[in-house]
Symmetry: C2
Subunit: 280 residues, 2 copies
């Protein structure tokens, strides 16, 4: 099976690494960044680098793993050129606008809108990890619009990466992800920003940062361009999530300013419940 991966960053590169290790799979890479192409070859992330045109001609499956803004431009173009046997998969972090953009397309049945919930704070082909998707969730939206043979091939690929696929409405996906992923990123970016802004003496941050701070601020190391595209595409849900988050922070600050330990503890005890929810 010939699989082409467009976009050799953290996600595309990690998919490539895992698929490349399978017998009967040839993985070709496509990337507009020449340095990324060379790096992906040097690191053995892909078998070969080809052009987008070559990928359209030779691939059984095309996986698009570019930032969500580039995706929205690229997806209809690729779908226009795809034949009736090829399968197209996207792995972007927002799904509503993507699904809307291709809903009426006459090749819609060859396209799977997916979102593997995996990643790290690093980016580029050098960040690609083998096994990144093992035991991770993968969300597929509007699977009822996909032809059964295309869905079957896509599921084989998802399963072979070790993912557990669940199905969801694209609006629901974007709303949930605003809270459970995108908000975490904003909270972490702005925590980093606040500390850097106040602590002009970097040596003190380095000296005093414990493992708690490191964990909470980890996502602030993420790629700004990747995330600004995601935030832009999901701005309505994320804006509501941020409003709620700011409201809770203000409530907590009020309780603290008033010396109301009971209220602080009530909030924190409720928040503790995340332990039960995440571990169940």
């Amino acid at each position: 099976m010939n699989i082409s991966i467009i976009g050799l960053g953290l996600i595309g590169g990690s998919i490539a690494r895992d698929l490349k290790s399978q017998i009967y799979v040839q993985v070709s890479g496509v990337d507009s960044n020449d340095n990324h192409c060379q790096m992906a070859l040097d690191l053995g992330v892909v078998d070969q680098i080809i052009s987008l045109e070559e990928a359209m001609d030779s691939s059984d499956v095309i996986i698009i793993a570019v930032p969500v803004d580039a995706l929205q431009q690229l997806l209809p173009t690729i779908l226009n050129q795809i034949n009736d046997h090829q399968v197209l998969i996207d792995v972007g972090s927002t799904k509503k606008l993507i699904c809307d953009a291709v809903r009426g397309h006459d090749k819609r049945g060859r396209f799977i809108a997916a979102h593997p919930l995996a990643g790290t704070e690093f980016s580029g082909p050098g960040a690609a990890l083998k096994g990144l998707f093992v035991e991770k969730k993968n969300i597929v939206c509007e699977s009822d619009l996909v032809q059964s043979d295309a869905m079957e091939i896509a599921m084989k690929i998802f399963d072979s990466l070790g993912m557990q696929t669940i199905f969801m409405d694209p609006s629901e996906h974007d709303k949930h992800l605003a809270y459970v992923s995108h908000l975490s990123h904003v909270s972490s970016f702005m925590l980093g920003m606040t500390v850097l802004d106040i602590e002009r003496d970097e040596k003190q941050i380095f000296n005093l940062a414990g493992t708690g701070f490191a964990s909470t601020v980890r996502l602030a190391k993420s790629n700004p361009k990747t995330w600004s595209a995601i935030f832009e595409k999901n701005n309505v849900h994320l804006s509501a999530a941020l409003d709620q988050y700011i409201l809770w922070l203000q409530k907590f600050k009020k309780a603290m300013d008033e010396g109301d330990r009971t209220a602080m503890e009530t909030y924190m005890t409720s928040a503790n419940d995340i332990k039960r929810v995440l571990n169940k």
Copy 2:
């Protein structure tokens, strides 16, 4: 050397575990919670459980590792009873009020105000870890008020736990910690709160929470009573830190609401700098 540890939670228990493994050190535990005492014995965290009075009589060194509100009450009482050869160390997370409370005490020279920057989101003797302090920073405040023989013994203990001790003014300590530790905890608690509040369907949180969310929300599992005491003692600095954090979140939300990707990326690129600061 007889060392007594008052308070057998995460920090006290972890100190006990490491000291107990050293030859020539006998570690006794004191805790007002009978369950904690039994657990500490069963888990081998301490050699024996004794009363506070017995600890005062028999110890060369007394380490107080109780929550910071209990500490402020207990510290002067213990200092009143200490003799001229005993050494008293506290390991609480705020330092200004503690140092103020005992500054003029005639036994001030026997007391070391310390704060080892280590911990996890778990609590109680069952959370005590061997090696928790290895390569961690330890802050000592107002060391110039400590008699040299007491300081020497305390430094031997800190060194034997693997910590790197640095010295700092107590107000500076509290201000830095507000940003680099306490703010992280509030941001994480309220992130957990926001997601639990909105996502009434717990199954979706469980399904969709990636490693990014898990990392950012980890501190929301921390002990509410421990942290409400810390927040109360450090409320002035933490309130200022929260104001700054909320301000940055609002600025970010404004940029996103206005579709200003350049501003979003500028903020995130600045926040990325935390990578360089933390790794240097």
